[in-house]
């Protein structure tokens, strides 16, 4: 065969393949023309897995089905974002119509890729004014560039859970409010045993469950992105200060290696053997659920809760914290979007539903009305977190097109700092900025 012929064949093959590859990628347009009154079955995926949480979902759904006899809801639990993303892209009959995810970080990816339908038209159709229903910070983290592709479904605030009995034993009367006091208290609460610990005041390393860099950065009021949308880690001195303070705490409590070794003796974060429950740590940076989980595990000590301490120079802002929450959205590929909206509307905006669900899984409710509801069960430990959630300076991590990748990049750098691998923090942050900008540009 002459060479040109072969080339033509090759081109034809390539063309055929690209045709094949693209033929199947079309997505249904955002046509929400289905009749929400027709008999329909919705696929609903969520991430909860503990038996009590799964039961709460079932009850919530049962209430919804009673109010909407034409809609059946098929519930699948314990779904991670990877699987949700994968299923949304695959589409088809088995793909979910309605999704809820814990990972607030994914909102940018969900909205930017149009994985989820924009809910603004649905809100308008139902005459719901979202600014009157949801707190402002919650609306911010559920949308991306004006595309409200998710709504908040309950809400998490991060604070400090502490062992009151251990505090008393160490002669500490109240939870620390500033970072320097926090460092002192953590040291006081630390009891050594051999070359390890009997009890550590706090597991300060970034793998210490919820002790993530983003949680701490919120206490410093750090701003991740500048007005130009560029990564701002080096631009905002708060990041370097936070990293330095955390490294200092790690060193004062015995150093990275020794702490990590102790951390490896901890039980699973979601099991009854959580180190806070077992008394291995006296303070835990955690969400609003921890106090009630510890009680359910039957801990023999008293539990206190407080906001996380703030840097000394920001003492006036004590009370703020990191907030994030579960999000809920409608798959843009779903052919039952109007029916799906009924479910989303019910679960996210119906005061009774939100309050009942919040009570069942001990999360902070996500609507203004539910926050004020008399039916909301508020223990003193829980109230701390309601206050954190309402604090005007509480903050979240912004939604970006690359989902949570920028946070992973930042965390990766933070791991290096706590370990002592980084000598020049500002230079390292500048490099991290570049990486984040590159990744976000790639994801757009």
């Amino acid at each position: 065969m002459p060479r040109t012929g072969r080339l033509t064949t090759a081109t034809a093959v390539l063309a055929a393949i690209s045709a094949l590859a693209t033929a199947c990628t079309g997505q249904g347009a955002d046509t929400a023309s289905d009749d929400p009154k027709a008999d329909v079955t919705l696929n609903f995926w969520h991430g909860w897995s503990a038996p009590s949480e799964a039961k709460a979902i079932e009850e919530n759904i049962a209430r919804f089905e009673k109010a909407h006899p034409n809609i059946k809801v098929q519930v699948t639990g314990n779904m991670t974002d990877d699987k949700i993303n994968q299923a949304l892209r695959a589409g088809g009959d088995k793909a979910p119509d309605v999704v809820s995810s814990f990972t607030t970080d994914s909102v940018g990816k969900f909205c930017n890729s149009r994985a989820f339908a924009d809910l603004n038209p649905f809100l308008a159709k139902s005459g719901v004014d979202k600014t009157k229903v949801f707190p402002k910070t919650l609306l911010e983290y559920t949308q991306f560039d004006g595309n409200q592709c998710t709504l908040p479904l309950l809400h998490d605030a991060y604070g400090l859970v502490y062992n009151k009995t251990a505090f008393a034993a160490a002669g500490i009367t109240e939870p620390p409010k500033t970072w320097s006091r926090f460092t002192e208290v953590a040291q006081k609460l630390t009891k050594l045993k051999g070359d390890s610990y009997e009890q550590v005041g706090l597991m300060p390393t970034f793998h210490g469950y919820e002790t993530k860099p983003t949680r701490l950065a919120a206490q410093w009021g750090a701003t991740y992105f500048g007005a130009d949308g560029k990564s701002n880690l080096a631009g905002d001195p708060a990041f370097a200060k936070m990293l330095t303070a955390q490294k200092d705490l790690v060193d004062k409590l015995g150093g990275y290696e020794k702490l990590e070794r102790f951390r490896n003796t901890f039980g699973d974060e979601w099991s009854a053997e959580h180190p806070f429950h077992t008394g291995q740590v006296a303070m835990q940076i955690d969400g609003e659920w921890r106090a009630s989980m510890a009680k359910e595990a039957g801990v023999p000590f008293e539990i206190g809760t407080a906001p996380l301490p703030v840097p000394d120079e920001q003492a006036a802002d004590y009370g703020k914290g990191y907030v994030a929450g579960t999000i809920m959205g409608i798959a843009s590929g779903s052919k039952k979007q109007n029916a799906a909206w009924e479910l989303v509307k019910y679960m996210t905006t119906d005061t009774e539903a939100v309050v009942a669900f919040a009570n069942a899984i001990h999360n902070v409710p996500s609507t203004l009305a539910a926050l004020e509801s008399p039916n909301l069960q508020v223990t003193p430990e829980f109230k701390t977190f309601l206050d954190i959630a309402r604090h005007p300076k509480s903050s979240s991590t912004p939604a970006k097109a690359d989902g949570g990748t920028y946070q992973l990049t930042f965390e990766d750098f933070a791991y290096g700092v706590e370990k002592g691998d980084v000598t020049d923090i500002p230079a390292g942050l500048a490099k991290t900025d570049q990486q984040i900008d590159t990744d976000i540009a790639k994801a757009k």
């Binding site: 590859a21 199947c24 990628t25 897995s49 503990a50 699948t76 314990n78 779904m79 990877d82 699987k83 949700i84 994968q86 299923a87 892209r89 695959a90 589409g91 088809g92 009959d93 088995k94 003796t265 901890f266 039980g267 699973d268 979601w270 099991s271 009854a272 053997e273 077992t278």
Partner: protein, 284 residues
Amino acid sequence: MSSAHTGRRSSRAVLHWVGVHSLGVAAALFFVLPFVFLLLTSLMGDRQALTRDLWPDTWEWGNYAKVWHTPGFLTWWRNTLLYAGLGTLLTVVSSVPVAYALAKFRFRGRRLALLLVIAMMMLPPQVVVIPMYLFWAKQLDLSGTLWPLIVPMAFGDAFSIFLLRQFLLTIPDEYLDAARVDGCGEVRTLLRVVLPMARPGIAAVALFQFFCAWNDYFGPQIYASDNPAAWTLSYGLESFKGAHHTNWNLTMAATVLVMAPVIVLFFFAQKAFVEGVTLTGVKG
């Protein structure tokens, strides 16, 4: 031979025996101790599994019942058996004729075909996973099922073809010629003459394929992960610790339960195993 000589020799032999066997015991400890610790931990209580104790305070046999009754555990078993069983059957049925043709037919492009088989054999599954995933999930809407894992096995597995071909090469052509002279077509020659002689090779390939599927983690993660009803043991086990908030004792009990059938099978089919493994090497 003088008695002194024999004495020296025999004392050297005794030393040698002692040396070799103590090395053997040391190696045996390396291979066996992990199993022992695993079993011991699987019988500990929640708290104790997180301590440095090596011996259970209380023997929690109930751990195994708890794991067994974990939602989904039985489904993982069923799926794994289906994937490994059906997959193995399909692989053998589809690979034997190909291997036979490659070993015993003369045709143009035979060497090229063989090279391509080897290339496929060397190909990490991750290389083609993106288009394959899009193909199964988007075009055929079969993600969340075991079919994307099983169906390809009906089209010959490169490693099995290669091994079988190596094995079939050792069957002398005279047997085939004799069958052909008796008027057998190629299909009948294959079924009547080649298959019985190739039984050890087929057994080896089947075992390999079975374990490959049994142990596969990447495939189920890509194709089956979005539907818990399609999870296999490997994938389920990995999710087990997180999904059920279990501590190490239960995780180890689950691990033991996943390892056990393979080991039991080994004791029943020890000869085929060893022969199979040997075959892969010696014919290389």
